[in-house]
Symmetry: C2
Subunit: 456 residues, 2 copies
Amino acid sequence: MSEQKIPYKIYLEESEMPKAWYNVRADMKKKPAPLLNPETHEEATLEELSKVFCRELAEQELNTTDAYIEIPEEIRSFYRMFRPAPLVRAYCLEEKLQTPAKIYYKFEGNNTSGSHKLNSAIAQAYYAKKEGLKGVTTETGAGQWGTALSMACSYFDLDCKVYMVKCSYEQKPFRREVMRVYGASVTPSPSTETEVGKKILMEHPGTTGSLGCAISEAVEKATTTEGYRYVLGSVLNMVLLHQTIIGLETKAALDKYGITPDISIGCAGGGSNLGGLISPFVGAQLRGEANYKFIAVEPASCPTLTRGSYVYDYCDTGRVCPLSKMYTLGSGFIPSASHAGGLRYHGMSSVLSELYDQGIMEAVSVKQTEVFAAAEQFARVEGILPAPESSHAIKVAIDEAMKCKETGEEKTIVFGLTGTGYFDMYAYEKFHDGKMDDYAPTDEEIANALKNIPKF
Amino acid sequence: MSEQKIPYKIYLEESEMPKAWYNVRADMKKKPAPLLNPETHEEATLEELSKVFCRELAEQELNTTDAYIEIPEEIRSFYRMFRPAPLVRAYCLEEKLQTPAKIYYKFEGNNTSGSHKLNSAIAQAYYAKKEGLKGVTTETGAGQWGTALSMACSYFDLDCKVYMVKCSYEQKPFRREVMRVYGASVTPSPSTETEVGKKILMEHPGTTGSLGCAISEAVEKATTTEGYRYVLGSVLNMVLLHQTIIGLETKAALDKYGITPDISIGCAGGGSNLGGLISPFVGAQLRGEANYKFIAVEPASCPTLTRGSYVYDYCDTGRVCPLSKMYTLGSGFIPSASHAGGLRYHGMSSVLSELYDQGIMEAVSVKQTEVFAAAEQFARVEGILPAPESSHAIKVAIDEAMKCKETGEEKTIVFGLTGTGYFDMYAYEKFHDGKMDDYAPTDEEIANALKNIPKF
């Protein structure tokens, strides 16, 4: 099909939307390492996981063999409210950069939660409802996940209890307020509502919290309250599975126009968006059908893949969750207070960790001022105000496009634009006013953080 | 076509997008009254208007004969970045209400400006660029228009000077910050940058401003600065013309599925969204092709159509703009400080005023607490967090759907969902905390406001 025919936005028909999620582990010869029980260090069983998670989600978590898992009609029905998401050809950005590269982005921000998180939130809420639960608990950092889960719970009439990292709770009252519109209760973490929260407050009075703390509190609340389970917005296999709707739609849209991407780029915090975007392409590559380049982009202030260790570690500060083998900076690692936005988690999805370890995926880290400069450049030509997280991918997509300009190569670049930055204007303001720094951990700080990871 | 076949979201193909705006005045037998020169009270000429507005826009303002005006390719190219906008079938809302009514909404919030305002902003920026101007000036209240214009000016590399109503400037720092991302300069109004601003500050020290003041400042700045013109986001004929892209797309989408709307509903502040939505349907009715019901919804705190007078009045506080015959509460009218969101303008589009006067369009006013209750109900089932302005239309759409439930009628209701409420969480918070009141002007206050309108 001729170049001229490719529209600005490729929307699939509703009838072309994926009917099953894709489980990339089924095509991986060397699978990611299993989760371990944090006390016995034995492989975590379905029974054990089912005390924390809904049973069907625990099954998905452990499923390494089925390549496709059907999306229940109730979830597909909700997806139709905000999906298919457009695959946008960045004609204006290409022209601005004067690059021969062809740039596409999958835009996941066209829903009220403002990000891709809703893809998994609605799935997890559905299984909770199906199991007859009263409600779910979770943590949220920047607030995207909490907002998405609030929306999903409101749809299925489930109670939703969110532990929000305290500094974010205080700095982002409007995020909190959106969750309230959807009927969620939001507690700043650490709190005195849980034992682990009290303990953390005792040991670190005045702490403004971290994702690891908030996870511990949410898990404790879920496992000690009748009719509740815990849900998580990233890192886990089940979350990556749900997020493959991103990559499946992207691949279907590209296939429709006969386009083969050379490079796929996504930001990586816990790995949910990147894993969701690239999984179907990784699968094709593992099956020998194609050859792609995948790039994970992380903040220099939280360089999990680029400077972490690939070992078993705790997933949370309170050490109540199963152990996961992953690239990690240690469960005590907290990025500099000057770091804006999300992508703060100390670990990484075990699937992406394994793909990185096998050399199938690359990783780079970028500084936040260059990320915000890329965000602003993008906003001005493409119209969309990107979330700081998504802007990490923009930065590297622009870098790759500029390399093409030098070499004259007409590469096709696809990146994930995970969300919008409407609730991040404080960070944009700091950037504009020249008050944003680029602090990255020193070698000594990294070495100390890694030293604190126990040996299992 | 069977009911089952109607998707959640009807997206037109890019090739189906309108190539011309529709000028409803061409089909009106009794035209809206012309603008008058504020000093001579004679009909405003093209030459006079061209001192304030770009010449081609002034021509559009005065054009009452051409039914279709071609959309330049440069504007259509920008439209393709965020249009066609989806026409959404509110299946979830219908189910929640258990109504036999079929509800559709045209969602204009899927762009960074967060509203329909971008449709006219990009058109006005284009003509300004084409005329070789350096920049444009404007006012903004709630901030939607200023944001849209900043985006449009950034795209065409034009300077953009925004006078933002002071109370809004102070309460919505993030709106201001988005405009800065797009390179606009934003000044709280009234300011000491203009003579009219100084005069207003002298007469009303400590005033937190009004749209009428900000318009006067923006017009003065434009007419006293070389290479600048003034642009406006609502009220004017040219703005309604650009906004007909909303109604043309809506009609094309409905026609595609053989659907005829019974009732079309839109919120009305200056009238740009409502006029844009209904114009193509009004035209069909004026030509005797169909029969529809049109409802304008305005806030009880600023009841221009429902309690105002249909007379010539000033469009701005400083009385520098042309006089317009319209429904008005007087250019000195300022809604209660407790009123949240936009829809605060004292007057109304002369086209809509005339349609209302001829009985072609109806109008109702609604209280803000019932508006926010409808907004929350809508958000929880349809997922989208609506702007307070748009929620006026939601409230009345729900009312009409509930009437259908009583009567058993399967009416088709279409309403305009003009934008998102991400920057209005302060108002949502007030609503939640029970701190929002429903102040509406007393009969005496309205009588006094109307008494202050000069006779021309």
